[in-house]
Symmetry: C2
């Protein structure tokens, strides 16, 4: 399977977090809906469950390993990942990572499927914003680089 590579973020109360996700898909264009698949063990999963809100940053293929590393290999239960990168609050208060990203969107969960180890969250896009031109990072490109 071929995938992109994204940072999915969420917020519940004062807790913010984000993580690398390869399974983000636009599921319908009208209305604009997106689905993300998240491991149940992850803090981001817990925050999305609580708040029903998530953000997605489409990464630039020039994204660097020091930037990506904490989002892929560390848990938000151990470190405050967002303190180290540029981000802003969306309409819902969800953090949106703007550093090394081509675009961001935020979405409100309208449905979900329990997949066992993971959950699919389907959200209505509340707002999306293009930040700059570039080539989106793909999982294959990342592996090869």
């Amino acid at each position: 399977m071929s995938y992109g590579l994204y940072i999915v973020t969420s917020r519940a109360d004062d807790r913010l977090n984000g993580q690398i996700v390869n399974t983000v898909v636009q599921v319908t264009s009208d209305p604009p809906r997106v689905a993300v698949i998240i491991n149940k063990k992850n803090l981001t999963h817990e925050l999305i469950q609580k708040s029903g809100i998530f953000g997605v940053s489409v990464l630039d293929d020039s994204a660097t390993l020091p930037f990506l590393g904490p989002f892929g290999f560390r848990s938000g239960r151990e470190i405050d990942k967002l303190s180290k990168v540029k981000h802003k609050a969306g309409i819902t208060g969800c953090p949106l990572v703007t550093e090394q990203a081509l675009s961001v969107l935020e979405a409100r969960v309208i449905n979900q499927i329990d997949l066992g180890s993971h959950t699919i969250f389907v959200g209505d896009t509340i707002r999306s914003e293009s930040l700059k031109e570039g080539n989106p990072l793909t999982y294959k490109f990342y592996q090869e680089k």
Copy 2:
């Protein structure tokens, strides 16, 4: 968003069909589950709804337009798409397109979400088979070619 490009097939009674889909994702690895997103207007959607079975062919990036065209631009209600390409029956009887494909799998639907214009079908993989080495076709590569 970055996507691959796949042929999703199904069968209900004696009716076979398949279509191009870009939104195929592996949702969990243990057990191996895949999700496909299909437009409700499509014959393939009707067949998956009836039978609860679908097949996925991961396409080779050398796949040709004459081969892909009927799966992307024609309806199975007008033409018999599978009569024109090499395929075989899976364990469930689902047709699996083996031509210009790197691998095939068949899955049984365990859950679904109604997304309005589309449905997400989540399936347990019954069997998968690698056919040959190669680079999987991506949506971006297809557009550029």
